[in-house]
Assembly symmetry: C2
Homo-oligomer: 407 residues x 2
Amino acid sequence: MSDSRVINFGAGPSALPESVLKKTAEALFNFNGTGMGIAEISHRSKEFGAYIANCEALIREQLQVPPTHEILFTQGGGTGQFSAIVLNMLARHHLLYPELDDEHRSMDYVITGSWSKAAAEEAKRLGAGNLHIAVDARVYSKDGKSFDNIPPHGAYKFSSHDPALIYYCENETVNGVQFAKDETSPTSFPFHLFPKGKLLPLVADYSSSFMSRPIPRLADHAVIYAGAQKNIGPAGLTILIVRQDCIVDVDAAAKLGAIPVPLMVSYKTLAAKKSLHNTPPVLAIYMAGLVLERNKELGGVEYYAAVNQRKANKVYGALREGEISRVFRGLVNEGSGSIMNIVFEVLGDGAEARFLSGAEQLGMKGLKGHRSVGGIRVSLYNAISEEQTDKLVSYMQEFISQETNRS
Amino acid sequence: MSDSRVINFGAGPSALPESVLKKTAEALFNFNGTGMGIAEISHRSKEFGAYIANCEALIREQLQVPPTHEILFTQGGGTGQFSAIVLNMLARHHLLYPELDDEHRSMDYVITGSWSKAAAEEAKRLGAGNLHIAVDARVYSKDGKSFDNIPPHGAYKFSSHDPALIYYCENETVNGVQFAKDETSPTSFPFHLFPKGKLLPLVADYSSSFMSRPIPRLADHAVIYAGAQKNIGPAGLTILIVRQDCIVDVDAAAKLGAIPVPLMVSYKTLAAKKSLHNTPPVLAIYMAGLVLERNKELGGVEYYAAVNQRKANKVYGALREGEISRVFRGLVNEGSGSIMNIVFEVLGDGAEARFLSGAEQLGMKGLKGHRSVGGIRVSLYNAISEEQTDKLVSYMQEFISQETNRS
């Protein structure tokens, strides 16, 4: 099968390990000796019950999720969570502070790219609480309008009273900016700005970086969520890590004036039945479980942190070479670049098309940038190997010399 | 592969055709010659765009969906729709009748089993509008408390003013009752009670009977929805047929006092981007497409209507034999029985366990009734062949003579 397959540098849905695809192809006919395929077996069977419990254990172990946090499986992707976090966290705020009016239920959003911008728009659209932009990275961009940076720590203006939520997107898939993992870095998330010893209402979208490296300050988060279709599995599965104080009685909150929360959007429904209130996406969870097992064998998030950093360094290295030769132009400031999604332009008339078609001839696909940004985007999720990355890097170098010779 | 597989009479997730599993196993590595697997390809690729458009066309053709209705693909299952229908249909009502208070926004529910009861509870829980039980089948049951019947036409009391929605569940998976497809039957849904020439706010849950036979009066429905995991595909995909006047501006409605609708719950979001506002469950849609292609080859819903009726007649026949011998007892009134899920008890000490273990020895699984009803449940979804049904029927007959000889 391998021969006919391309290298998929797409931003998501994206490449999965071939070993996972092979096991899935077998399990479609017979899951764990049950005589039923994994797409056919009841979610209430003891075999699947054991499987989903193991998925949870694998995540808990690999990310060191403390017992204060539940791990939940749901549907609807990151976009579904844009609404869910607002509704659940506002419900929590109503229960904590029943007397406040909406104006004093601040929702602090850190805007660093298309996805955090969309999340903030949904908070505003839902129309309760008070959307507060803690920082907008465009203000700190080279041209005053691009998402090309992680702002400096001094730029953040969080609400002084207890906000209902504080939101950030750890890795911006479209724009290719990511918070640094090292807290001493000027492009890290400014955890130090928050008071210590408080249960922070900190919400993070980890959709495109989940399981690619350890999560800094995981225990300080109220909610971490991730669509599966980048590093974990197929589209149609969303993984949540929710601190227990954020799993609240949304009906009691609605009686106090919070927005009524649809049953499946409520973290309480999900947690009460261990993600089995209704039929979960069994097949997607199965594939995610295989990926998590493979991660464990390879060495977990520490292994991926090292490999992914090396992969990114190599691509950024080729990009810098191309910048010197004026063949490429990076779209993100130094220190703000994502290790998962690297975005750049190919300079010169028709050069982008030449770059893409040359890559395609070598069996490398999915390199076209997001329609809102243009250019090239290289997505280096966990399933992309170092060897595959090397092939791209060689091609980038070859392309640089070709283009240099043209001019 | 076939040898190791059991016959899966489970209620869902449930059996899928082996030809569909085989094609899926191949497409996991390479979808339509793209060199990428179906779980890895972008939902925005032209190949997947063409595929989902074809899925829509197949449903439209097979169910004769008129151009007044959109076909949408989403996530969250039937339970997700319990909330979505309330929020979208109340929003529509607010736009139609902005001046009314909640008390006059009636939501008429027809309760015939566990699932319609759960849907009504969600309507009540969301706390706006006025839940009106048009009929509760338990009132017409033999013991006054069971869901064992479809009530007579005279039993329905719909709201006289325009309700926000009128809800029924076509087939009750847990209880095994289903509306008759023939409108002249006393156990059909009473379409004739509604005024002609009006756009009815009629909502139907078709989760466990979708694509098993034609949908009576499809064009009169506001919303028809179905989780895929019974007759169509794996869990994690929900199919909607929505009349265009029910795709409303939920934000405008919220300004008039309707409950704010989360982005992914809004039919407007789904319809505006042709189910591609966010990443859809690509793999599940692929498998559903394969099932729909196979349906077409076999002869569509007319083919299944005939086969499914024959399969059900055979099982009900064996059940009647067992009732005469006092080995089985049906749990549903004559004329109300589902052709998809047939529920009955096995009489006598330890007899149920004997029935289940004997079936399992013959490679037939998933026959245990729902925990709330007990007994046996035989699910005869499209993927269960007539031959597989015959095997069960033979076993039922053999079991009857064994049990008769015991006593």
